[in-house]
Amino acid sequence: MNSISITANGLSKDYNHSSIFKDISFSLSSPASLSITGKNGAGKSTLSKIIAGLLSLTRGSITYSVNGKQIGIEEFKHHIGFVSPYLNLYDEFTALENLQFLSHIRSTTQQNSKRIKEMLTLVGLWNRKDDIVGTFSSGMKQRLKYAFALLHNPAVLILDEPTSNLDIEGIDVIWQIILEQKKSNILIIATNNNEEAHWCAQQIQVGTT
C-alpha cells in the first residue's frame, strides 16, 4: 500500500480578473479525508479540479508525494479517481466499452477485465454493461462514473457532489465506497450538503476570505 500525501500552500484562483478563492492551505497524508464546502459559486468544484491537476493555479503551490518521494501531477494522476458533474463518459459507447477504454489507456487490460466486472457489479450496472451510455438515466451515469473512478484502485478519491442524481440504494453504495476509501487512502469531497461534509475528518470552507 502506497503512502500518499498532498500539500497545498496558499492556493488562489482568479478568473477574468476576479478572485474565486484565495490562500487555501491544507495537508493530507493517507489515511485522510477532507471536505470542501462553500456556497454556490464559491469555488468548490474549481478547487477539486485544481487538486486533480485539471486546472491551473493563479498563485500558490501544491505538491504530491508517493512513499515520501515528490512527483509531478501527470504521474500523480494515475493515483487519482475523480467523480464530478463536469467529467463525462462517452455516450456512444456501452458501459463496458467505456471502462475497457480506460483500461486500454492505462495499459492494464489483462488484470482489469475481472476488476471491470467487480466495479460494474458494485455500482449495480453489470446487467446493463452492454447498453449504450447515452440511454442511461442521470443516476446510472453517476454510478458508472464511480466505476470509472475506482477501476484502477486509486489512492486518492475526489468526489464533487458525490450523491447528485443518486437514489437511496445508490447513496448506500457510495457510502460503502467512502467508508472503504477512508480506511487507508485519501478522500476529498466537495459538497454543499452538511451531512456529506461530516463524512470527512477535516473540513475547509472556500469563498469566505
Binding site: F82, N88, L89, Y90, H104, I105, R106
Partner: protein, 223 residues
Amino acid sequence: MNIITSTLAIVSKDVRSELRTRYAMNALLMFVVTSVATILFALREDEVSTEVLSGMFWVVVFFTAMSGLSRIFVSEEERGTTMTLQLIASPSIVYFGKLIFNCGLTLVLSSAVTILYIAVFPAFVIKSMGIFILTIFLGSLGFAAAATIIAAIIAKANTKGTLYPVLSFPILIPLLMTVMKSTARALDGEMFIAAMSEFQILVSYLMIMIAGSYLLFDYVWKE
C-alpha cells in the same frame, strides 16, 4: 503505462466513435461531392491547364479538411469528455492519438477526392504515379499535422466554426503551394527527380509542424 498502447487506445476509441456517430465522415463526404460537382458545372467542357486542375484539387481537399478535421477536439468539448481525457491520459498521448486519427481521415479524404476527380474530369490524368502518391501522402500528413494543433486551439474558443479556416490558412499556405506544384508535375508526367525539392519541403513542413505542435500542445490542452 505503455505509451504506444495508450496512444493506440485513443486512436481506436476515435475510430469506433466516428463509425458510430459519423461526426466528421458525413460532413466530409458531402462537402467533397458538392464542391467537386460545383467545379464540374463551372468548367463544363472547358479545357484547363494541369496547374488549374491541381489547384482545384487541393482547394477541395483544403476546404473539406477544414470542415471536418476540427471535430476531433470540438466533439470532445461538446460532449464534456475533454476533462476525462485530461485526467486519464498525458497530453502527449492525446496529441499523438488525435494526430494519427486525423492523418487517417485526411488520407481517406484525399483518396476519395482523387477517385472522384479521375471519374469526372477527363483531363485529370496522373502521368507520374510516384510523384502523385508521395504528394498525396506527404500533403495529407502535413494537412493533418497542422489541422490537429489548430483544432486543439479553436476547441477552447467560442467562435469555433469561423476561427478554424482563418487560423489554418496562413499556416497551410506553404503546404498548399508545394502540393499544388508537385501535383501539377505529376499530371504533366515529369520525372520523379524533378519533384525532389517539393518533397524536401513537404517532409520539412511535416517535421516542423509535428515538433512545434508537440511542444505547444501541453499549453493548449491544459486550461
